[in-house]
């Protein structure tokens, strides 16, 4: 029998002595249960969080953040710390660029963008070939005006694609963000670099927002170009009756792009939260798409109309206000508030989940 086998497992055991444990009490709960045992890690991430806040918002210098630990020891090196802060910010931008590069080099994402660009072209060609719907056909207002003014194709294409195709493409990118890295195992290497969990989450979300903007802008540009090529263009007759010059029309299209991108960014936050819950990217993507569809179904059931203001999808196409003079900001303002609320709630869920998660994939 080996010496190791002689040990009795029931023998009393004194607690391991560790002077440092005062700072980080060993957690009794299982780390897989959620963020609780991550308390120790939260410290690390909150320090990192503040550094990030300073770099992202430019409100406070990195040097000011460090006063507590390093500042006391060497107050004379404030300049050095500022330089370090600048280097950190540059480093963060480098990582974001790397992330964006990864997203836009990925064949799958490029294919999705291609489809998004193609749909407005098909829409324009179809309207050109078969003529637009007559007023009273039940088609949304903007569709009836496309053949008269090509700029309306942009509004029409966005209100069409925002229903499903744009949300799906956003879900693919944002849903893949954490789960995809976990699935192929690169997540553990990124965290061992160490990139920092909060920082990784923020960069992933920033990347998703950039993709939202790019996808919406791709749809808008393709629709704009198609509209101008296939249909007459000129001053826009607004829903409120007045007319605005074409240049201002373009400006308002820009507003719509930003509004729709904000709506997609809210969806990206949901998808990111799902992405922290699984190691299977397709699961997070599918969950997001299912959520979108369920929300849209709930949104059209008349008996559930009380639910509508709380559904994200109800607000996505609420950009008619830009076609009024002056721009009717009421509905869009409310929409932006809803988007903001979704981003805060699901961003917090993603953070709470990810900061304490055991990475075993």
């Amino acid at each position: 029998m080996s010496p190791a086998e002689k040990g009795s497992p029931n023998q009393t055991m004194t607690a391991p002595q560790n002077t440092r444990e005062k700072d980080t009490p060993p957690s009794e709960t299982d780390a897989l249960e959620g963020p609780t045992p991550g308390l120790t890690r939260t410290k690390e991430d909150s320090a990192e969080d503040s550094g990030l806040g300073a770099s992202a918002l430019g409100l406070r210098s990195e040097g000011a953040q460090r006063t507590n630990d390093e500042g006391k020891r060497r107050p004379e090196s404030a300049q050095a710390r500022d330089a370090e802060g600048v280097a950190k910010r540059r480093g963060l931008m480098r990582f974001l660029f790397s992330e964006v590069g990864l997203t836009f080099r990925r064949p799958r994402n490029l294919a999705m963008l291609g489809v998004l660009v193609l749909v407005p072209v098909l829409l324009g060609v179809a309207l050109r070939a078969f003529g637009g719907p007559e007023p009273g056909d039940g088609a949304p207002g903007v569709f009836t005006q496309i053949t008269g003014n090509g700029l309306f194709l942009t509004f029409a294409a966005l209100s069409l694609l925002v229903q499903l195709l744009l949300p799906v493409s956003v879900a693919v990118v944002a849903g893949d963000s954490i789960a995809g890295e976990a699935g192929i195992g690169t997540l553990r290497y990124l965290l061992a670099v160490p990139v920092g969990r909060t920082r990784l989450l923020v960069v992933k979300y920033a990347n998703a927002v950039i993709f939202c903007l790019a996808a919406v802008a791709a749809v808008a540009s393709s629709a704009l170009l198609t509209g101008l090529l296939l249909f007459p263009a000129g001053p826009i007759t607004l829903l409120s009756g007045g007319t605005i010059p074409m240049a201002e029309g373009l400006l308002r299209i820009g507003l719509v792009v930003l509004y729709v991108a904000a709506g997609m960014a809210a969806l990206a936050a949901i998808s990111l939260a799902f992405s922290t819950l699984t190691e299977i990217a397709i699961g997070a993507i599918a969950a997001t798409v299912v959520l979108v569809i369920v929300a849209q179904v709930l949104g059209v059931i008349p008996q559930l109309s009380g639910l509508r203001p709380y559904l994200l999808s109800s607000w996505w196409s609420g950009f008619d206000g830009v076609l009024r003079d002056p721009v009717a900001t009421g509905e869009m303002g409310q929409g932006l508030l809803v988007f903001g609320a979704y981003i805060v709630i699901f961003g917090s869920i993603a953070w709470a989940r990810f900061s304490g998660k055991d990475i075993s994939g």
């Binding site: 391991p16 957690s27 780390a31 480093g91 064949p107």
Partner: protein, 335 residues
């Protein structure tokens, strides 16, 4: 120093001798424990002490908690209990300052399949906020050169062979000078030639003063690479210490081949030999720890007592015997 964990209570005392400073160790764990949901204990009160500059073998059968330990060391998995230090800094608070000085290969290589080897390294380098991006190309080139992947740098990772993938992972761990390298089964899936290359690389890195912590389930690999070793068994530390000390731990045994096993056993016991065992390998055999006794004297005593001695052998334990004794399980010695 050799610490063989005799029982659970001994694991509560730190593996670091009281007179030593923690700065002399690259890794120190104190009562490190991981319980998974459902109550399974993957790592049970682990006290490791990895001296600076050592090539430290972390040996144990598959499923003995090696990878979970490494995940905890790197802050990927939060321990349920206990604490640890990396490079003299208490974790997990110090992860951000310590990990840039630690290179790691955890549970096989993982890269983006649609990127080239070089682009993959650039990606990991970009995640490191503490490096100078201006030197990135030079460092990446150097790391690729070091593992012999310069020619395949532009090839997509998808097209890499298993050996190339493993080498790329080592290159990623060498993107900047490291004080500690943690390699989890670095030769897994490699052919003999690849294994030799990795072994050479580890020796080379260690010669530069980097501490190397290498896990393996292969005894031969550890024996050829390491100066120190820790042996895991079902989540617990069975033993740790310098390889040479460990080798000397298992007693030299005398084995008697005889038809009168009972009589022979009685004689051996009367002579004060410890650990008398009957017929371990065969039925007509008795063995005991030789201790300080001379084998020829024992032979004479046996004959005097009327035991028919057919054969007598003194067995010096192989390292394998030592480990099998410690872990209670066999090792894949051949690899």
């Amino acid at each position: 120093m050799l610490t063989v964990q005799e029982d659970r209570s001994s694991s509560a005392s730190s593996a670091v001798p009281p007179e030593a400073r923690t700065e002399d160790y690259s890794i120190v764990t104190r009562g490190l424990t991981k319980r998974f949901r459902g109550g399974q204990v993957a790592v049970d009160h682990l006290d490791l002490a990895v001296p600076k500059g050592s090539v430290f073998g972390f040996l144990g059968p598959n499923g003995s908690g090696k990878t979970t330990t490494i995940r905890m060391l790197l802050g990927l998995v939060a321990p349920s209990e206990g604490g640890w230090e990396l490079l003299g800094t208490a974790m997990p608070d110090g992860l951000r300052t310590a990990l840039p000085r630690v290179g790691a290969l955890v549970e096989g290589p993982s890269f983006y399949p649609y990127l080239s080897g070089e682009a993959n390294l650039r990606r990991y380098d970009a995640a490191d906020l503490t490096v100078d991006p201006r030197t990135a190309s030079a460092r990446i080139g150097e790391a690729l050169e070091r593992v012999g992947l310069t020619a395949a740098a532009r090839k997509r990772y998808r097209a890499y062979s298993l050996g190339m993938r493993q080498r790329l992972a080592i290159a990623a761990a060498l993107l900047r000078p490291r004080e500690l390298l943690i390699l989890d089964e670095p030769t897994n899936g490699l052919d003999p030639q690849g294994t030799r290359e990795v072994r050479g690389l580890v020796k080379e890195i260690a010669a530069e003063g980097t501490t190397v912590f290498v896990s393996s389930h292969l005894l031969a690999e550890i024996e050829q690479m390491c100066s120190h070793v820790a042996v895991m068994r079902a989540g617990r530390l069975a033993a740790q210490g310098p390889l040479a000390t460990l080798r000397a731990a298992e007693a030299v045994r005398i084995s008697v081949e005889t038809p009168d096993v009972a009589a022979a056993a009685a004689v051996l016991a009367d002579l004060g030999l410890a650990g008398v065992r009957l017929g371990e390998d065969r039925e007509d055999e008795v063995s005991a720890e030789l201790g300080e006794k001379a084998a020829e004297r024992i032979c004479a005593e046996l004959v005097t007592a009327g035991v028919a001695v057919r054969g007598l052998a003194v067995r010096r334990p192989s390292l394998e015997d030592v480990f099998v004794g410690l872990t209670g399980e066999g090792f894949d010695v051949a690899g």
